[in-house]
């Protein structure tokens, strides 16, 4: 179990992470979503004791990460697949980790095989690895200590579609057997396919979190009318606000009945009235995080 309680991190006057709280339960995959620079990596580094928080605290299995003793046996971490010595071979990287954690050396070859790195790849220096191979090596590194928890920062980066599919299966399987997974991404679609829970972060603050199904359900209703300006006026009279979709509809944060009544009162012909589902969540994700990317670029 991972728990973040009011985590904050400031760099000078810039709040990179601002009062972030969430928990990751055993048996679930939590998707940590946000645009680049929203504070995902900083939050994950704070959980792993690599960055001291300005305020708040994080625990892994009810303990601060630094008090875990031999953390690799309890939590597998992949924060940056490129942060390995380029002069070491893939096998050497895992061997060092196995020695540190006290894992039998035989596990190294099994670990490499599990992530699809064959004997030739294992003997090559990390320098010669593609990003996808580094991600696989990083995943092998995280899994080597046979942990019950995984923290992965953008693990799908650099993986081909087949690799992404394989990783989803691996993480799903890990969680289904009682493991806890926290997985970050800046792509909603990528996380949606595997996560049970979502934590959406933008500009350092949590903007939405909860069960994936609930978030999808609560993402509004799509409505489209023959006479769109009249519909917009009717919605405004009823006190409902909406955001325009690309195909000319409106996503309204209300259920179908409320919208339907408003439309009937104005004697409007509706062409569409349905739950917004994932498209709505994406809309929400884009709206909530809009403008944040610009901040990131200039930081």
């Amino acid at each position: 179990m991972i728990s973040a309680e009011h985590l904050s991190k400031r760099y000078g006057s810039h709040p990179a992470v601002d009062d972030v709280s969430f928990t990751c339960e055993p048996g679930t995959v939590t998707g940590f979503l946000g645009p680049n620079g929203a504070g995902k990596s900083t939050t994950m580094r704070m959980i792993c004791g690599l960055t001291p928080p300005t305020a708040g605290r994080a625990t892994v299995d009810d303990r601060a990460y630094r008090r875990l003793g031999n953390p690799g046996r309890r939590i597998g971490v992949l924060l940056d697949a490129s942060a390995q010595h380029p002069g070491r071979t893939g096998r050497e990287v895992l061997t060092l980790a196995a020695l540190t954690m006290g894992v039998p050396r035989q596990q190294v070859d099994a670990g490499l095989e599990r992530v699809g790195l064959n004997k030739t790849a294992a003997k090559r220096r990390v320098k010669a690895y593609s990003l996808g191979m580094r991600q696989r090596l990083g995943l092998a590194y995280a899994l080597l200590g046979d942990p019950g928890i995984l923290i992965l920062d953008e693990p799908a980066n650099g993986l081909d579609p087949e690799g992404i599919f394989w990783m989803r299966g691996l993480l799903r399987d890990f969680a289904d057997r009682g493991g806890t997974v926290l997985l970050s991404s800046h792509l909603l679609r990528e996380v949606e396919a595997v996560a049970d829970k979502l934590v959406v972060i933008g500009g350092g603050r949590i903007v939405a979190q909860g069960d994936k199904a609930e978030l999808l359900a609560a993402s509004g209703t799509v409505v489209k009318a023959l006479d769109m300006p009249a519909l917009r006026a009717a919605l405004e009279r009823a006190g409902l606000t909406g955001t325009e979709t690309a195909d000319g509809g409106v996503v309204v944060q209300a259920d179908a009945e409320v919208i339907g009544r408003a439309a009937a009162e104005a004697r409007l012909v509706l062409l569409e009235l349905r739950p917004a589902d994932s498209g709505g969540l994406e809309q929400m994700f884009l709206t909530l995080t809009a403008g944040e990317t610009v901040k990131e670029v200039v930081r």
């Binding site: 003793g69 953390p71 046979d146």
Partner: protein, 267 residues
């Protein structure tokens, strides 16, 4: 994957969360072995060790071919044979600390061992072990060279005291630790290596040039105060001066470097 299962089973059997099982620290011996391996498992580390070995053999060859016959004895061969190690082992000390940052392995290292002070302790222990190994290798090499010296008409005396051996070893350890201290403090390989060699030299030159500094230089110049370590005897006054310069050039950088490593954010 079995840990997930066993943890679940354990939780079900005991009826309480599996999170309460006790914490075992990674023993320092294991961390030291890992750090020793890290010193030799990259090209730079491996070749540095090879060069030290080859250079030691080279010094023996120089002494045997060029030195006067009375200097061709075990102690001189050994102290001269250790000269390359005195210069190059500190570089290994620097790299052991800086490569974590320059190669970005600090992320993986401190994720597996979040108590960073223990990683530093393991690195220093590994460095000391390497210094011991270098001296043992030099003793073996010098013994062979001394046999050759006897064969070609050199002095060939085997006389060496435990005190002399101990000081030769201390010389290696101190300079390696100084390198490690500079590495830990500066966290940048080229900068730490350059400053490691340049700063003491600059201090020596200043001490010679500026009269009021010369007394201070005599106490604080490790290059001068450590020289008696390689000589047949050392007086208590020389020990005192050596101690002061070690405090300045070795202990202080190590303390500051450790503090900096403990505090630095890893990204």
């Amino acid at each position: 994957m079995t840990a997930v299962q066993t943890r679940q089973q354990a939780a079900e059997e005991s009826g309480r969360p599996a999170t309460t099982h006790h914490v075992t620290k990674i023993p320092l011996t294991r961390l030291t072995l890992v750090e020793l391996r890290k010193l030799a498992d990259t090209r730079s580390g491996f070749w540095l060790l090879v060069v030290i070995g080859v250079a030691s053999a080279g010094t023996a060859a120089i002494l045997l071919s060029a030195a006067p016959a009375e200097e061709q004895r075990f102690f001189d061969l050994l102290s001269f044979g250790l000269a390359p190690a005195t210069v190059l082992l500190p570089v290994l000390g620097v790299l052991s600390m800086t490569s974590e940052w320059s190669q970005r392995t600090a992320l993986a290292t401190f994720t597996l061992v979040p108590e960073r002070g223990r990683v530093i302790a393991a690195k220093l222990l590994a460095g000391v072990l390497i210094a011991v190994a270098a001296v043992v290798a030099a003793v073996a090499l010098s013994a062979v060279a001394n046999l050759i010296a006897i064969g070609i008409g050199g002095d060939g005396s085997w006389h060496v005291t435990a005190d002399q051996l101990g000081r030769l070893l201390l010389n290696q350890v101190i300079f390696l630790l100084m390198g490690a201290g500079f590495g830990a403090l500066l966290m940048n390989s080229p900068l730490a290596i350059v400053l490691y060699f340049a700063l003491p030299t600059v201090w020596s030159i200043l001490g010679e040039m500026i009269k009021p500094l010369s007394t201070a230089a005599g106490w604080a110049d490790l290059n001068i105060t450590a020289t008696p370590l390689s000589e047949p005897t050392m007086t208590s006054g020389q020990w005192a001066r050596f101690g002061v310069s070690v405090a300045i050039w070795v202990v202080l950088p190590l303390i500051l470097g450790t503090l900096r490593t403990l505090r630095r954010e890893v990204s």
